[in-house]
Amino acid sequence: MAKGMLIIGAGECGGRAALALRDLGYDGPVTLVGDEPHLPYERPPLSKDAMAGDAPVIKAIASDEILAERSIRHIRSVQAVAIDRAAHGVRLSDGSILPYDKLLLATGSLPRRLPMPGLGPRCVYLRTFNDALAIRAHLSAGNRIAIVGGGFIGLELAAAARRLGAVVTVIEAQPRILMRGVPAEIAKIIHQAHEAEGVKILCGDAIAAIADDGAQVRIALAGGQDIVADLAVIGIGAVPVTGLAAEAGLTIDNGIAVDAELRTSDPDIFAAGDCCSFPLAVYGGRRVRLEAWRNAQEQGALAASNMLGAGEAHAAVPWFWSDQYGLTLQISGLSDEGSKVVRRDLDDGAFILFHLAQDGRLVAASGIGPGNSVARDIRLAEMLIAKRAKPAPEALGSQTIKLKSLLAA
């Protein structure tokens, strides 16, 4: 009898992988193991829409009915503690051992911890739905919220907190917000939007000390300022969850290292989503690790397919979005691959920056504007990037030339 497919991690990636196995016609056992008490759910709303209402609600990827109907066994609130590669089994924190024919590690990432003393109960991180519930309870009119880190999670949360009337200060050690992966021209628009909404942003200042007395947090900056808050939310990046894989002797390289088919150094074990680093074909096999919802979804599906022997190589172009106030930012590709930028202005102040490599190849596009004004062109840019196209810079910059026409060329 088949031991079946075992998935460790029941987030976007693991959840999608389980569903994909059934979509692809696999009829053996499928088991999904998660350490949270909830159904598999989408995390992006946790820093956005989930904060807007009175109480965050779970946006489940699959209901109990769907999981039952598709014979997906979902084990909640347990951790995987060890992989026995020789016996093809995984031991769980409840002592049970689950066998597998193929194993998928979709263990995700965890918030990077702020490595300093003084943190207490009023210093929190956002990763899970329960984290979101705890943070939401503090977002009320007049409450003081300090956000440590001017990255996406921090800024989205800052926007949500402002909407609820909180007094928000963002502290960023780098000279500007969104240093990683977002062009300065676009970061500036976001910075201005936050300031217009009343968020105080402090860049280029390091934290010298933190004191949390359980009722409030005092953050002393190296520049001499003291920020006092009712809650400090720390959003300084994420680290891949690799402990289980490392202890099993799998190769780790900025995440669980996988090949183009998402296979680890053990041919029966795959890894996908935030926890893995993989070769990105569109940039000549450059090894990257992505912390992004769509990547988690796509890699979950790709891993499922390859666990069934499809032998399909990863070919997607990275894509990412963020919503803050009425603005949406979308980025496809990795802008650090580019050496030249061409700007295309759209209606309503929206614009797109096209990033071109030395040889003229389009390697990334970053856009920002109200609502979904940049979505279509970013999607077309993504297809151009995937085709390794070298569109004429004049055409990219001209509002009157449709991007779709460049795709056909």
Binding site: Q297, W319, G371, N372, S373, A375, R376, K404
Partner: protein, 104 residues
């Protein structure tokens, strides 16, 4: 039942493109296919209520601008994660250069 409503002029939409049409508190998406036929669906994605008219039309697929959920706009069929609920479609006819849709 025969409540045909004028949505737009036939030339208002390019081939292989989509346009938003709001009527009586509802929102629709009107499509012109690459082979020059017209179609209509509900205007909002079934995943997170995003206007599909901001999305990209490729052949007979409309892709949601937010999370890339895909639908066949001719049949309304959901065609890939994250969408799993089909899109409602509406009959369309052309009359004197106008696109009319039948809102049931």
């Amino acid at each position: 039942m025969s409540d045909w409503v004028e949505a737009c002029g036939a030339d208002d939409i390019d081939e292989e493109d989509v346009m938003r049409f709001d009527h009586d508190g509802r929102t629709f998406a009107i499509y012109r296919s690459p082979d020059d036929e017209y179609f209509a669906t509900d205007g909002l994605c079934t995943h997170e209520k995003v206007h599909l008219a901001d999305g990209l039309v490729m052949d007979d697929i409309i892709e949601c601008p937010k999370h890339n959920g895909r639908f066949n706009y001719k049949t309304g069929a959901a065609r890939g994660a994250p969408v799993c609920v089909n899109l409602r479609t509406y009959p369309v006819k052309l009359d004197a250069g106008k696109v009319l849709i039948q809102i049931g």
